[in-house]
C-alpha cells in the first residue's frame, strides 16, 4: 500500500470492493484522520472493562 493517505484510503476501500471517486479521496482520508485523532483523545480515560452493552442498562436505570 502507498504511504499517501488518500491512496491508502482508496486502497482500503478497494479491498472492501468499494470504488472511491478519486476526487473525494483526499477529503475522506482527512475526515478519517480527524475522527481517529478525536477518538484517541476521547477514549484515553475509558475503563479497560467498558463494553458497549452497558449503555442499554444505564439508559434504563437513568429513567426516573
Amino acid at each position: 500500500m502507498s504511504t499517501d493517505p488518500k491512496q491508502t484510503y482508496t486502497d482500503l476501500l478497494a479491498l472492501e470492493g468499494v470504488m472511491l471517486d478519486p476526487a473525494r479521496a483526499a477529503g475522506a482520508a482527512e475526515v478519517l484522520r480527524t475522527q481517529l485523532e478525536v477518538e484517541r483523545k476521547a477514549t484515553q480515560a475509558l475503563a479497560f472493562e467498558a463494553e458497549p452493552a452497558c449503555f442499554a442498562a444505564t439508559l434504563r436505570d437513568g429513567s426516573r
Binding site: L12, L13, V18, R24, L32, V38, T43, F55, L59
Partner: protein, 469 residues
C-alpha cells in the same frame, strides 16, 4: 365545520368523535391542500386519494356503528417514505428502493392504524435519511412552507414541510442525528425524538441501528404526546425496544410545571448562536420562567468528542448496511450520500467499537453532572439563521463535511446519549423563517418534556401561525 385545517390532530379527532365533522369531510378538505402544497413544496412522494377516501368512509361507518374509535379515528396522516407497508414500495428517498416491495408493515404504522389514523400518502425525505438539510437529488428538494427558497431541514423534510403547510395533520419521522428536530425547527412545528428503544424500529428503514429513533412531527406538543402514546412500547419484532412501561403522556400534560428546574448549558450549545435565534431562545425561557420554572445554568461535559463519536457510529453502521449496494450500484446514490457512505466504509473497527464503548461513560457523566441538577435542558436546535436551499447545495464536494457537521452539531450528541428531546416552535427569525428550541430530558422522561412543551404552547401562539397559502 369551518376551517378544519386550523385544528390540530387531537382537536380534529375530538371533532370527529363528537360527530361535528367526519373522517370523509376531513379527508376531502386535506387532499386538495396536499396536492397544492406538493406542487409548491415537493413534500409528498405519493398521495393515494382514492384509497384514502375509501378508508375515511370506512372509519366513519365504524364510528356510526358505535365501534370503539381509537384516539385518532378518521384523522388523515401521511408519513415519511421509510415506514414500510407490506408489499408496497418505500422509496426511502432513494432511486435504489423506489420499486422494492416492503417485506413487512412497520410496527409504528400498525399501531397508528389501530389508533384509527387514516394514511393518505407518503412524504419526501432525504435519500436513505442520510442528510440534515432536506435536499433530495432523486425526488427533488423539499421546500419550506414559510418560504420555498429555504431549506426544510432533514431528513424528515416532507414531514416538517407538509405539517407546517397544513397539508397533513401529523407525520412520522425518524431521528438518527437530528432528523425530527431539525425539520421541526426549520418548519415551525413540534417534534419529539424519543429515548432510544422507546419506539419499535421494526419495519422502518434502518440507517444506524444503534442511534435510530422514530417519532412524530405535528402542529402541537399535545399531538406529539398522543402519537407517541400510540406507537411507543415494547415490540417482539425489535429486540432493542424497551420493556419499560409507557406512561400516560396525555394525562400528564395537565400537571403543573411550577418548580421544574430547567438548565441552560454553560458551554457548547450556546457557542456562537446567531443573535436573532438567541433573542427567541431567551424569550422562550422568559415564558417558562413566568410559568414558575426555575432556570439555572448547568455545566456541560465535553460534547465535541461525543458528537464525533456519534458521527463515527452512524457512518460505520450506515456503510455496513449499504455495503452491497455501495459495491454494486454506487452510481445510483446521490453524490452526497455516496460520499458519506465512502467515509463510513473507512471507519476502523476499533474506532467504531471505542465510540460505542464511550457511550455508556458519556451517558453516566451526563446523568451525574447535568441531570442531577435539573429536570430538563433547554438548548437551541441550530445556532445559525436558516439558509436557503441554494446556499446549502454542496452535494458531495469539499464543503460537505463542514456544512453537515455545523447543521447537526447540537443534535447528534443527544442521539449519542440516547436521550429524548422535544423541539418546540418559539417564534420567527428576522428573515421570517421559524425557530424552535429543544428540551432534552432524562432517559424515558418524554412525559416531562411534553408537560413543559404543552405548558409553553398554552402560554404562546407560535404553533397556531400559518405560513402563506
Amino acid at each position: 365545520m369551518s376551517d378544519l385545517l386550523a385544528l390540530s390532530a387531537a382537536e380534529l379527532a375530538r371533532a370527529i368523535r363528537a360527530r361535528k365533522t367526519s373522517a370523509a369531510e376531513a379527508m376531502q378538505v386535506v387532499l386538495p391542500v396536499a396536492r397544492k402544497a406538493h406542487a409548491k413544496l415537493n413534500c409528498f412522494v405519493r398521495i393515494d386519494e382514492e384509497g384514502a377516501l375509501v378508508a375515511a368512509r370506512a372509519a366513519d361507518a365504524a364510528i356510526a356503528r358505535g365501534r370503539a374509535a381509537g384516539p385518532f379515528a378518521g384523522v388523515p396522516m401521511a408519513h415519511k417514505d421509510m415506514y414500510y407497508r407490506e408489499g408496497e414500495a418505500s422509496s426511502c428517498g432513494s432511486k435504489i428502493t423506489r420499486d422494492r416491495p416492503a417485506p413487512a408493515t412497520a410496527t409504528a404504522l400498525k399501531r397508528l392504524d389501530a389508533a384509527g389514523a387514516v394514511q393518505f400518502g407518503v412524504l419526501n425525505m432525504t435519500e436513505f435519511a442520510y442528510g440534515p438539510t432536506g435536499h433530495n437529488y432523486h425526488w427533488g428538494h423539499c421546500r419550506n412552507a414559510w418560504n420555498p427558497d429555504y431549506i426544510t431541514g432533514g431528513s424528515s423534510s416532507g414531514s416538517g414541510s407538509s405539517v407546517a403547510a397544513r397539508a397533513n395533520f401529523a407525520a412520522l419521522g425518524s431521528d438518527t442525528g437530528g432528523s425530527i428536530r431539525l425539520p421541526a425547527h426549520f418548519c415551525g412545528v413540534a417534534g419529539i425524538k424519543p429515548t432510544y428503544g422507546r419506539v419499535s424500529r421494526a419495519g422502518a428503514m434502518p440507517l444506524s441501528f444503534s442511534m435510530d429513533t422514530l417519532g412524530p412531527l405535528a402542529r402541537t406538543v399535545e399531538d406529539c404526546a398522543l402519537i407517541l402514546q400510540a406507537i411507543a412500547g415494547q415490540d417482539p419484532a425489535d429486540a432493542t425496544s424497551s420493556a419499560l412501561p409507557v406512561p400516560d403522556y396525555v394525562a400528564g400534560l395537565a400537571r403543573p410545571v411550577k418548580g421544574l428546574r430547567i438548565g441552560i448549558p454553560a458551554s457548547y450549545f450556546l457557542d456562537a448562536v446567531d443573535p436573532g435565534i438567541r433573542k427567541l431562545l431567551e424569550a422562550s425561557l422568559d415564558v417558562l420562567r413566568s410559568l414558575g420554572c426555575e432556570i439555572l445554568e448547568v455545566a456541560i461535559p465535553d460534547m465535541d468528542a461525543w458528537n464525533r463519536a456519534g458521527t463515527a457510529i452512524i457512518a460505520a453502521e450506515a456503510a455496513a448496511l449499504h455495503s452491497n449496494w455501495l459495491r454494486e450500484r454506487p452510481q445510483d446514490y446521490s453524490d452526497q450520500v455516496r460520499a458519506r457512505l465512502e467515509i463510513g466504509a473507512g471507519v476502523t473497527a476499533t474506532q467504531y467499537l471505542n465510540a460505542l464503548r464511550l457511550r455508556d461513560a458519556a451517558l453516566k457523566a451526563w446523568l451525574a453532572e447535568v441531570m442531577s441538577n435539573v429536570d430538563a435542558v433547554h438548548a437551541p436546535v441550530v445556532a445559525f439563521a436558516t439558509p436557503t436551499i441554494a446556499q446549502t447545495d454542496v452535494g458531495g464536494g469539499a464543503k460537505m463535511t463542514e456544512l453537515l457537521a455545523l447543521v447537526t452539531r447540537l443534535m447528534r450528541p443527544v442521539n449519542f446519549l440516547g436521550l429524548p428531546s422535544l423541539a418546540v416552535p418559539c417564534g420567527f427569525q428576522p428573515h421570517g423563517l421559524p425557530c424552535g428550541f429543544q428540551l432534552i430530558g432524562r432517559p424515558f422522561d418524554e412525559g416531562l418534556l411534553f408537560r413543559l412543551g404543552h405548558a409553553y404552547q398554552r402560554a404562546t401562539d407560535w404553533h397556531t401561525r400559518r405560513p402563506p397559502a
